[in-house]
Symmetry: C2
């Protein structure tokens, strides 16, 4: 059976990686049976043999595959079930769309929820996370990052316009049913949902409504997932 | 006949807008007969009736259409000729791809070539351009912006990775022949080519080779266009 490796917090049932969530939702989309195993920032023993140290990683038989877009394409090429990409060219150009979500959705949310991620970790992982992530915060302390996030959220709203323009005339970013682009966005948004009470997209009714529908998908896979808060 | 409105410099044959170039190339792609009219930053009298003040604008019969993506979709829906979008969904999701190019290719090149754009304008337009663009330069003077652009170019290279990954296995961003994504990129790159001797993509052999092919397209439409330098 296929194995998906996930990042967890101090509690093993708190699975918060945005990139892993993209794959969790895609596995559900294609109805691919799988089991999950967890790693933490400081204990990645389960990934020995994969050649990489960052999740998502899947193991299918004796094959290891890493990086969310590479995994998405692997799932599309090797499993039946609903399609993730409309055409082979769409799978190629997905690298641009994937990068758009990473830069315009994931990265801007990081300072808004970094304190909450930190709070969800155990002592050893807190130490690791602080040492590796605080240098990305422009001289600020992780513990102080909740201050000012209302302003970051207000500015973040400008990034939504391409998404809102698609959703003005489509139920999903991928048309009438969700597919790759929707899981890119939803994985990104489950991340704050799992670790935080702060909602980075609260100002967009269009995105909130879309997210509500995605929360309910697959018997509430994302909406009912254990939260740290 | 359809009319395309273009921005020109002090010399009327110097047409440098990256967004207009996207449309010029798409008109050629679909072999749509058209004439062009020019405007400058300070003289947009030709656009009276369009309701907008920024090019590209086209007039088709008595219909005005503005904004490059809206125009691209209009051309696709109303003219035969080679397709710009593989599917209707691709035309919808193109808003994400279009935004990716604006943010990751056009915007980072602006400080590298802003002095060259300035130099290509006449006195009245220089004054307007300086007043409206200098506030975007973080306190620096337009005339001083050539200093430091080597460092900006070196950092800019990181933005190419999604494009280089597509071009590793495809002749064009749109597969075997150019289409929308290619014209988004090429329009963006004709902009520095027209106004400057500084090449923002000189460090990427993959992008340079792709651009050389695009320069030759349509009897050298882009490659033989009059330059300010």
């Amino acid at each position: 059976m296929l194995t998906l490796f996930e990042l967890c917090g101090a509690r093993g049932d708190v699975r918060f990686s945005p990139f892993v969530w993209r794959i969790k939702l895609m596995l559900a989309h294609k109805a691919i049976p799988h089991e999950t195993k967890t790693v933490t920032f400081t204990d990645k023993a389960a990934l020995t043999g994969s050649g990489v140290k960052t999740v998502p990683v899947i193991k299918d038989g004796d094959k290891w595959i890493s990086e969310s877009l590479t995994i998405a394409r692997y799932l599309e090429d090797n499993f039946s079930g609903d399609r993730l990409f409309e055409t082979p060219l769409a799978a190629e150009q997905a690298v641009i769309i994937n990068n758009w979500f990473d830069r315009n959705i994931v990265m801007p949310m990081f300072p808004m929820i970094v304190t909450d991620i930190y709070d969800a970790l155990d002592t050893a992982n807190k130490k690791y996370f602080k040492a590796t992530r605080e240098p990305r915060l422009g001289g600020r302390k992780i513990e102080d990052m909740r201050a000012g996030r209302d302003e970051l959220r207000a500015a973040f709203r400008a990034n939504f316009s391409p998404l809102e323009s698609i959703l003005a005339t489509n139920a999903y970013l991928s048309g009438e049913t969700p597919a790759f682009a929707d899981y890119c966005l939803m994985g990104s948004l489950v991340w704050p949902h799992i670790v935080s009470d702060f909602d980075p997209i609260s100002e967009s009714a269009v995105l909130r409504d879309w997210r509500d529908g995605m929360f309910d998908q697959f018997d509430g896979l994302a909406g009912n997932a254990p939260r740290a808060v």
